[in-house]
């Protein structure tokens, strides 16, 4: 056993500025390193390269020449790029609005029901959350099978119960394809939103509800004057997350309709448009420069809109 040296207190306090180096404190930084490296390589680095690439013309093999903002000009002024962009952009908005109206509203209602005293809460919670556990690609594949016009379960079911007129080529018609995919997307995500809403509902003090009931408020009134305002934070968070999700959306559409956003561009969103331009097809048609320009625009749209949404919600929050 080494002898312990006793350091006189005076010696330590004589140089109060020179604290011993706190290894523990900085050790924490070391633990952040792996995450920081991963984040840097897989998030930050690609983001920065995408911005740089968007200033170059690039056919896929070599980054040719610096062309400044030409890719952006092409994207917004030249046919068919501008039409395709506007078309895809509109679809992203449709995706968002329909998603909010269906997925979020349903999720909220489900959360309210589960929050009320029904039996089998846990069971329903699990059931609704289950689709979230499936990979998007699996969901896309499953629904492609279900919606198949000749052998799909949905149309067979509709026909067997005499609703032949409702049997549609769901994914093969410009009228139904996008809506179908949005609803599938909502189906897959509703459980997650429901859990967030449920958590928020459970954080409200029960006494408030009791007090309201004693005062004779109807259930309807309680929901609109107490529950919704008090869960506004969760609603705000979910709206923003949905917004980001809807503008980034790609996998499900790609899994079900490929990158062409078919039929006839009716399910084309900025994500698929980006993919087509940046990676082309087996036969060519690749332009990484233009693709990167879309990626940058997409990033700006999401970043700016999210900021605006957050400021808007925050203001509303303060007013209350």
């Amino acid at each position: 056993m080494p002898e312990l040296k006793t350091v006189p207190l005076a010696e330590v306090s004589a140089k109060p500025k020179k604290k011993p180096f706190n290894v523990r404190k900085h050790l924490a930084h070391l633990f952040l390193l792996p995450a920081a490296i991963l984040y840097g390589t897989f998030q930050l680095f690609p983001l920065i390269t995408a911005v740089i690439n968007s200033f170059y013309s690039w056919d896929g093999f070599s980054r040719d020449t610096f062309i400044g903002l030409q890719n952006f000009v092409t994207l917004f002024t030249e046919s068919p790029f501008k039409e395709t962009f506007v078309n895809a952009f509109k679809h992203n908005w449709t995706f968002f609005f329909v998603n909010v109206c269906t997925e979020l509203v349903t999720a909220y209602i489900l959360a309210l029901i589960i929050h009320s005293r029904i039996r089998g809460k846990e069971f329903f919670k699990t059931i609704f959350f289950l689709p979230k556990l499936l990979s998007v690609i699996v969901i896309g594949f499953l629904f492609s099978l279900i919606l198949n016009p000749t052998s799909g379960a949905l149309n067979l079911f509709l026909k067997s119960v005499g609703l032949d007129f409702l049997a549609q080529p769901w994914l093969g018609s410009t009228d139904t394809a996008l809506l179908t995919i949005i609803l599938i997307n909502g189906w897959a995500g509703v459980g997650f939103s429901m859990l967030i809403f449920l958590a928020s509902l459970q954080s409200i003090d029960k006494e408030i509800f009791e007090a309201a009931k004693i005062d004779g408020a109807s259930n309807f009134k309680i929901i609109f004057t107490i529950t919704i305002p008090m869960t506004m934070n969760a609603i705000m968070t979910m709206t923003i997350l949905t917004f980001i999700g809807c503008f980034e959306t790609f996998e499900l559409i790609y899994a079900m309709q490929g990158s062409s956003g078919g039929p006839y561009y009716s399910t084309d969103v900025l994500g698929t448009y980006f993919y087509r331009l940046a990676f082309g097809s087996v036969e060519g048609g690749q332009s990484i420069g233009l693709g990167s320009a879309i990626a940058v625009v997409l990033f700006l749209i999401i970043a700016l809109s999210t900021a605006i949404l957050m400021i808007y919600f925050k203001r509303k929050d303060f007013e209350r």
Binding site: I37, F61, S62, P169, Y265, L277, E283, G285, Q286
Partner: protein, 430 residues
Amino acid sequence: MKVKQFLIWGVLLILSLAIVGCSSKETSKEETNNEGKTGEKTAEKVELTMYSWRPEDRDMYEKAIKKFQAKHPEISIDFQPYESTEYNTILSNALVSGDGPDILQLRPYSGAKTIADSNYLLPLDDLKEIGNINQEYLEAAKGSDGKVYGVPLSLNSGVIFYNKEIFDKQGIKVPKTWDEFLAVCEKLKKNNITPIAQSGRAAYLLSMTHAVIGPDAYGHNDFVDKVTSGNTNLKDPNFVETVQRMKDLEKFFPKDFIALEDNDAQTLFYTGQAAMYINGDYRLATIEGTAPDMKIGVIPGFASKDGGEPVVTTWVDGSYAAAKNTKHPEQAKLFMEFLASKDFGQIFTEESNRLSAVNGVTPKHPIVKEIAAAAAKNSTPYLMLVHFGEGEPTTKTTFENALQGMYLGKLTVDGVVDEAQKNAERAAKK
């Protein structure tokens, strides 16, 4: 304190860079070691890496490589196939990073041109055996400078497969012209058999059908020459006629065919619900694999007039090229010569039941033989793929998506032609 923090962050940053750096150094060390080894052994043994997008052809290549090694035992070939859908990305990354393969498979036409123009390939004009391949096919592997950069491997043809049993039962004679074909379709439809198992969810199958039924309406190679030399364009009434034909065929396609996948269409064909199926001849293996008992025949193309010869739509599917920065250009060229030889062509066609691009190779399979014989007499290029494969998006893509739009009631026949022509003009400007 701030200085210290700064120092710590600095150290961490350097550490992280060092970790990344070390790992890449290690690999590069290994590489040089390997190179050193192979370098020493040059006299004895050289290994060439070969990229392909057809993992399913491994057996065929192994046989072919054995044959090659019988003459050149000092050269071994490392066949590295990748999934077709991933291939372009893998190849471009490998080429750009500089440690690409020695031999690589080239996508035809504009795909090959892009790589050749980026200066990644060795010109092969002086290759001994290159004369075994038709000039027309060499077009698939040329750069903008007109030099040949690849040895075309296989030819694809767009054909109409038909169910022999259905044709026999209905007493249908195999149609030779468009008018006869329409009559056959009418008859089948009357008897409640879907005439053509067409799918439209993946739009490329629409332009495939167009490539098979169109050429005799626009006048085969005369039109191709005119359109490539700029003497006419897609708005030519003869070309418009081909799109009108596509429109006319709609009633012979399955219900909701735009929602059908190729698999669904094939199922209709296998189960006898549909009598014909249009696709590349490479589907033959799929059909025989899935429905081995089915008796199928092939309509290789239409003749312009009654009694004329059918004209087959053919195109080169892929070529092999030698990378410019290969360490062993001599050996790579030896292998390229082998790929252009009849020996290889014969192995290829026998093993894969597909058409070889090498002249004078005779396939074994009767159907492949029939197509090859017809193609040797009269062939026309897949117009959209061969001459309209440029631009972002390509005119071919625009055209087939527009066809989808036509079937969905979004575009007229002229609208389809308009969209395609506009895109072609834009692509030509670049």
